[in-house]
């Protein structure tokens, strides 16, 4: 069971959370795995709506009911099941679960194409309230790691290329930032990104996107990134 633990992927999408689980292995293993994973992360996942990506796994109505119960126990609401197997999709529909994400915002891998909320949707209401709670990670985020957090994120360590952080609040990296960071992901344009060494693949604040200039930057000074006059700009941290 340990071997598949990290096969559970959790990422934030506009509709809430997208949780993907492995195709293979027994159903009992899957339930156990979900319980462990959700219990660990309950503190910051709870209350979310969940779209569950099950790949080619065959699931009937009874299995889906059990999964619903698993999420309910962890204070999550299952609202969609993304399945490759037609009979699993049929079963999901019979339980009044959605079987695709609205507006096809996902690519074939279920990766969310655009994490920007449309103005006027429910999500912008959430941004009216300041982001609460901070997540502190004392580790280096390596390629493939994905952090989704409603609130601020502080990383004490590096963010390597291929890693991503999506936060509704600010993101502070006490180390080298070389991956992707999306601050103010729910539309907060006052969110900032700070790093001791700023060399990201891409930065996003609210619905703005910026990429680093191509030339190699020799500078290794702390910088802060914010939206100024509708544009993402990096400023040296010299106050």
């Amino acid at each position: 069971m340990e071997q598949v633990a990290s096969q559970i992927g959790i990422k934030g999408i506009r509709e809430g959370l997208l949780i993907s689980v492995p195709d293979r292995g027994s159903f009992a293993d899957l339930v156990a795995l979900l319980n462990v994973e959700l219990a660990q992360k309950q503190a910051f996942l709870q209350g979310s709506q969940v779209a569950l990506q099950v790949g080619y796994r065959k699931l009937d109505k009874e299995y889906l009911r059990q999964l619903q119960a698993v999420f309910e126990q962890n204070q999550l609401e299952l609202w969609a099941v993304l399945a490759e197997d037609p009979s699993a999709r049929e079963a999901a529909r019979e339980l009044a679960l959605a079987t695709r994400l609205s507006g096809s915002q996902t690519d074939l891998n279920g990766n969310f194409l655009s994490q920007m909320p449309e103005p006027g949707t429910a999500n912008t209401v959430a941004s009216a309230q300041p982001a609460q709670g901070g997540l502190i990670l004392k580790e280096t985020l390596r390629s493939g790691r994905s952090i989704f957090h409603e609130g601020h994120v502080v990383v004490i360590g590096d963010v390597n290329p291929g890693a991503e952080i999506v936060a509704s609040g600010d993101v502070i990296v006490w180390g080298r930032l070389r991956g992707l960071v999306h601050a103010g992901a729910l539309g907060d344009e006052t969110a900032v990104i700070c790093a001791l060494e700023l060399n990201p693949t891409q930065l996003r604040i609210a619905d703005q996107i910026a990429i680093s200039p191509d030339e190699k930057r020799g500078r290794t000074i702390p910088e802060q990134v914010a939206i100024r006059n509708g544009q993402i700009v990096a400023e040296m941290w010299q106050k």
Binding site: E2, V4, S143, G144, N160
Partner: protein, 267 residues
């Protein structure tokens, strides 16, 4: 006696996992250790080819796991090293024929009589990778000094950390000192800057590796012509053994011609 399981992995394909496995297994055997190399790349086996043992295969790893033969019967004795063995992969099956717990069982049995069990992991991060690292005591990550290979190595290190297999130790393979000197290739420092793990070997690009792989004689053994790669592999084996071996200086020799070249290219 309890042997150590060392898994060689990389994420990206084509960086030289199989070559590294064959050479480290050979170099450890040359130090007088009892070594068995396991090819965990079920369906795409080639460790047997690199070690020159292809024509001796009767039983393979899947045969052992499915009980068609005893473990001992699947262990092919090397042609040259008396205490080196190979357990080949099945060519006609796929990764799903083996589970991580199968690998742990097989390795636990091998630990009884071997000093080292070296596992050649398949590329990727799926089942085959998980099979290969499940029994590992130590993990060696092979990468090339290029951005895509380093990116994948980074991912692998992250996965190893989440499986509590430690960050692993790094082998930088196919380094071309001349290209590094010209600034056209990532340097050792560039790679370590991103990956931040312990370096256990730097293998220079060397034609003799390809030649000896094609001949089925790992370069660690054949390196008659004082090949620098041969020495580098033997150094890795000694470091695995816990010895402190200085890294070979790989800065290109600056002859008069080179210096002139540099001088012209600068101006």
């Amino acid at each position: 006696m309890s042997g150590k399981v060392v898994t060689v992995t990389s994420g990206k394909g084509g960086v030289g996992k199989t070559t590294v496995t064959a050479n480290i297994a050979t170099a450890l055997a040359m130090l007088g250790k009892k070594v068995v190399a396991i090819d965990a790349d079920i369906g795409l086996r080639n460790l047997d080819v690199v070690m020159g043992l292809e024509n001796r295969i009767v039983y393979d790893l899947v045969d052992v796991i499915e009980g068609r033969c005893r473990l001992r019967q699947a262990m092919i004795k090397d042609k040259r090293q008396p205490d080196l063995y190979l357990i080949p992969a099945a060519q006609t099956r796929d990764k799903m024929a083996v589970s991580p717990s199968d690998m742990i069982l097989v390795c636990d049995e091998l630990r009884q009589e071997m000093d080292y069990i070296i596992i050649d992991s398949p590329a990727g991060i799926e089942r085959g990778f998980r099979n290969a690292i499940a029994p590992a005591d130590h993990v060696l990550i092979v990468t090339n000094p290029e951005v895509s290979a380093v990116r994948d190595a980074d991912r692998i290190i992250g996965l190893l950390e989440s499986e509590e297999k430690g960050p692993g130790r790094l082998i930088i393979n196919r380094l071309k000192p001349e290209m590094v000197a010209r600034g056209d290739m990532l340097s050792i420092d560039d790679v370590l800057d991103i990956l931040a793990v312990e370096l256990i070997g730097v293998i220079p690009e060397d034609e003799s590796i390809l030649i000896s792989s094609n001949r089925g004689t790992p370069v660690a053994m054949s390196g008659l012509n004082g090949s620098s790669a041969s020495q580098a592999f033997r150094n890795v084996a000694q470091r695995i053994e816990g010895q402190t071996v200085p890294f070979v200086d790989l800065t290109p020799k600056t002859g008069l011609l080179n210096r002139l070249n540099n001088w012209f290219s600068k101006s």
